[in-house]
C-alpha cells in the first residue's frame, strides 16, 4: 500500500509526465514563436490538452468507480446480512441458521458460478434470449470499460456489480423454501435456476441484443431500471411456484409460527433500505444526476410504502405493526426498482403508496384465499410488488427524468405513450413465463434427483440441527 499503488492507479499521471517530457523541446520551439507572452512551462500544446483530456477522463472514471464500488458493496450487504436477517427473523428459532445459510450460500456459490459461466451467459454476446460463452471464466472481462454497458468504469466493476444482483435474486426465492428444504437440494436448485432463469432474463432485459433491452435495441423495449422484472418478478414468481410445489410446512396454518425475532427482521429491513441505494442509484452506473434521481425515488417510495402498509393495518387490525411497516418499506423498494431513474420524486411517493397497500392486500388477503404457504411472502412482496412496479413504470416514466426513448419523446403513459405499458406487460409476461416454466422444470428434476423436502422429523427438529448440526442461540451454557 503506498506509492506502488498510486502509480498503478493513475497511469495517467505517468502518461502525462511522459508526454510532457517527450515533447518538451519541440513544444518550446513551436509555441514560443506563436505565443511569445507565455512562459515555456505553461505553453498550450495539443499534447498538454490531450493529457488533460486523459486526466479528465480518469477523474470521471474514478468518480464513477468510487460510487460503483460503493454500490456493489451495498448490494452485497443487502444479501448478507440484510436479507438473511430479514428472513431469519421471520422463521422460528430452530431454523434461523438454516435460513441465513440459504442466503449466505448464494453469496458463495453464485459468485463462483458467475465467474465460470454466469456472467458470460447473461452479458456476453449472444442471441436475443441468452448470451454466449465468449466470456466464460471472465475471459475478456478486464479493467478497461465495456462501452456497451458502462463507458466510464472498468468492465470488472460492472461485472462484480451485476454479480451482486445475481446473488440476491435467488436468495429472495428462499423465502418460499423456508423451514422445510434440504440444503443440498437448495444448492442444486439454485445453480440450475441461476443458469436457466436468471441469466436468460438478465440477458433479455440488459444484455447486448437482448429481446427486451430498451437501450441496446431490443425488440420490445421494456423499461427496467434496476431489476423489477429481472430480479423481483423472477424471484417472486419462482417463489410462488416453489411454495405450491413444496406444499405447506408441517402444521401450517394451524400451528402458530410467529417470527422468532422481529428485531432481527427490523435490522435486516433497514439494511435492505440502506443497501437499496446501491441497487437503484448504482444502476445509473455513474454518480451523476441520474443516480441522484434514482436515489431520491428509492427513498421516497420506501417511505410512502411503509405508510401505505402501516395505514392498511391500522384500518384493518386497529394498530400498525413494526413488521408491517418494514414489510411495507420493502414492498415500496421492490416496486420502485424498475421505475427509479425514470420518475419524479412525487410520483415515486405515489408508486410507493400504491405498492404498500397492494402488497399488504396480496400478503394478507390473497395468500389466505389461495392457501399456499409462501412462508416469508417472497411472492406477495417481490412477485406482486415487482409486477406492479413494472407496470407503474410504464405509466409514470417521464422523459424529463430520463429521455430513454429519445430526447423529448413521450416515455410513459402519463406523457401519452400508451405503448410503453404494453411493452411493460410483455416484459413482465415473459418474466412470469420463464420463471414458471424454468422453476417447475428445475423443481421436478431436483425433487427426483435428491428430494426437495427434509423429512417430517427433521422439519420438526429444525433445519439448524438437521442440516447444519448447530443451533442459533445458546443461552444456557455455564
Amino acid at each position: 500500500m503506498a506509492m506502488l499503488k498510486r502509480l498503478q492507479a493513475n497511469p495517467n499521471h505517468a502518461a502525462k509526465l511522459g508526454f510532457l517530457l517527450k515533447t518538451g523541446l519541440l513544444l518550446a520551439l513551436c509555441l514560443v514563436a506563436s505565443a511569445p507572452l507565455l512562459a515555456q512551462s505553461s505553453a498550450v500544446t495539443p499534447e498538454r490538452i490531450a493529457a488533460i483530456e486523459k486526466a479528465t477522463a480518469a477523474a470521471q472514471s474514478n468518480a464513477d468507480n468510487a460510487w460503483m464500488l460503493t454500490s456493489a458493496a451495498l448490494v452485497l450487504l443487502m444479501s448478507g446480512p440484510g436479507l438473511a436477517l430479514f428472513y431469519g427473523g421471520l422463521v422460528r428459532k430452530k431454523n434461523i441458521l438454516g435460513t441465513m445459510m440459504q442466503t449466505f450460500a448464494m453469496m458463495a456459490v453464485i459468485t463462483v458460478l458467475w465467474a465460470i459461466v454466469g456472467y458470460s451467459l447473461a452479458f456476453g454476446d449472444g442471441m436475443a434470449f441468452i448470451g454466449g460463452l465468449h466470456n466464460a471464466f471472465l475471459q475478456g472481462v478486464g479493467l478497461a470499460p465495456d462501452p456497451a454497458y458502462a463507458a466510464t468504469i472498468p468492465a470488472q466493476t460492472y461485472m462484480v456489480y451485476q454479480l451482486m444482483f445475481a446473488i440476491i435474486t435467488p436468495a429472495l426465492i428462499t423465502g418460499a423454501f423456508a423451514e422445510r428444504v434440504k440444503f443440498s437440494a437448495l444448492l442444486v436448485f439454485m445453480i440450475l435456476w441461476a443458469l436457466l432463469v436468471y441469466s436468460p432474463m438478465a440477458h433479455m432485459v440488459w444484455g447486448k441484443g437482448g429481446l427486451l433491452n430498451a437501450a441496446l435495441g431490443g425488440r420490445f423495449p421494456c423499461l427496467d431500471f434496476a431489476g423489477g422484472t429481472v430480479v423481483h418478478v423472477t424471484s417472486g414468481v419462482s417463489a410462488l411456484v416453489t411454495a405450491i410445489y413444496l406444499g405447506k410446512r408441517v402444521g401450517y396454518p394451524k400451528l402458530p409460527m410467529p417470527p422468532h425475532s422481529v428485531v432481527l427482521s427490523f435490522i435486516g429491513a433497514c439494511l435492505l433500505w440502506f443497501g437499496w441505494f446501491g441497487f437503484n442509484a448504482g444502476s445509473a452506473l455513474a454518480s451523476g444526476s441520474l443516480a441522484t434521481s434514482a436515489f431520491v425515488a428509492t427513498h421516497f417510495a420506501a417511505a410512502a410504502a411503509a405508510i401505505g402498509w402501516g395505514a392498511a393495518e391500522w384500518v384493518r387490525n386497529g394498530k400498525p405493526s413494526a413488521l408491517g411497516a418494514i414489510s411495507g418499506a420493502v414492498a415500496g423498494l421492490v416496486a420502485i426498482t424498475p421505475a427509479s431513474g425514470f420518475v419524479t420524486p412525487i410520483n415515486a411517493l405515489w408508486i410507493g403508496l400504491i405498492a404498500g397497500v397492494f402488497c399488504f392486500f396480496m400478503v394478507v388477503k390473497v395468500k389466505a384465499i389461495f392457501g399456499y404457504d409462501d412462508s416469508l411472502d417472497a411472492f406477495g412482496v417481490h412477485g406482486a410488488g415487482g409486477t406492479l412496479g413494472a407496470i407503474l413504470t410504464g405509466i409514470f416514466a417521464n422523459s424529463a427524468i430520463n429521455p430513454i426513448l429519445g430526447a423529448g419523446k413521450a416515455t410513459g403513459l402519463l406523457e401519452g405513450n400508451g405503448r410503453q405499458v404494453l411493452n411493460q406487460f410483455i416484459g413482465v409476461g415473459i418474466a412470469w413465463i420463464v420463471s414458471i416454466v424454468g422453476t417447475l422444470a428445475i423443481l421436478f428434476i431436483v425433487d427426483n434427483l435428491i428430494g426437495l423436502r427434509v423429512s417430517e422429523d427433521d422439519e420438526r427438529e429444525g433445519l439448524d440441527l438437521t442440516q447444519h448440526g448447530e443451533e442459533g442461540y445458546d443461552w444456557d451454557a455455564a
Binding site: L465, G469, E470, E471, D476
Partner: protein, 112 residues
C-alpha cells in the same frame, strides 16, 4: 387436590393445552425445560469441536385439579401428547394441600 406435572414435547404444547381446556381444565402453568432420558440427543459441531447434546428441549405443564378431574386431565394429556416415540414424556401426580387465589384469598378447590 392433585398436582399434575407433565413433561411433553414442545411441539405438542398447543394440542395438550387445547385438550385440557376441552376437558374443562383451564388453569395451567407452563415452563420451558430441558430433558434427559432414553431419547437420544444429537451432535453439534462448532469449528470442529463436537458437542454431544443430551439435554433436549421439553415443556412442562403444571396443573392443580380436584381429585375427580385428575384422571380426566391425565387422559387428555396422554392422548394429545402421544406420538408413540421415545421422548414423549412423563406425567407425575402428587398431592397438594392447599390452593389460594391471590386476587381474593379464596382457598381450597374453589381457588383452582
Amino acid at each position: 387436590m392433585q398436582k399434575i406435572e407433565a413433561v411433553i414435547q414442545p411441539s405438542k404444547l398447543d394440542a395438550v393445552k387445547d385438550a385440557l381446556v376441552e376437558a374443562g381444565i383451564s388453569g395451567i402453568t407452563i415452563f420451558e425445560a430441558r430433558g434427559h432420558g432414553r431419547q437420544k440427543g444429537h451432535t453439534e459441531f462448532y469449528r470442529g469441536r463436537e458437542y454431544a447434546v443430551d439435554l433436549l428441549p421439553k415443556v412442562k405443564l403444571e396443573l392443580v385439579v380436584t381429585d375427580d378431574l385428575a384422571e380426566k386431565a391425565i387422559q387428555a394429556i396422554i392422548t394429545a401428547a402421544r406420538t408413540g416415540r421415545i421422548g414423549d414424556g412423563k406425567i407425575f401426580v402428587s398431592k397438594i394441600d392447599e390452593a389460594i387465589r391471590i386476587r381474593n384469598d379464596e382457598r381450597g378447590e374453589i381457588a383452582l
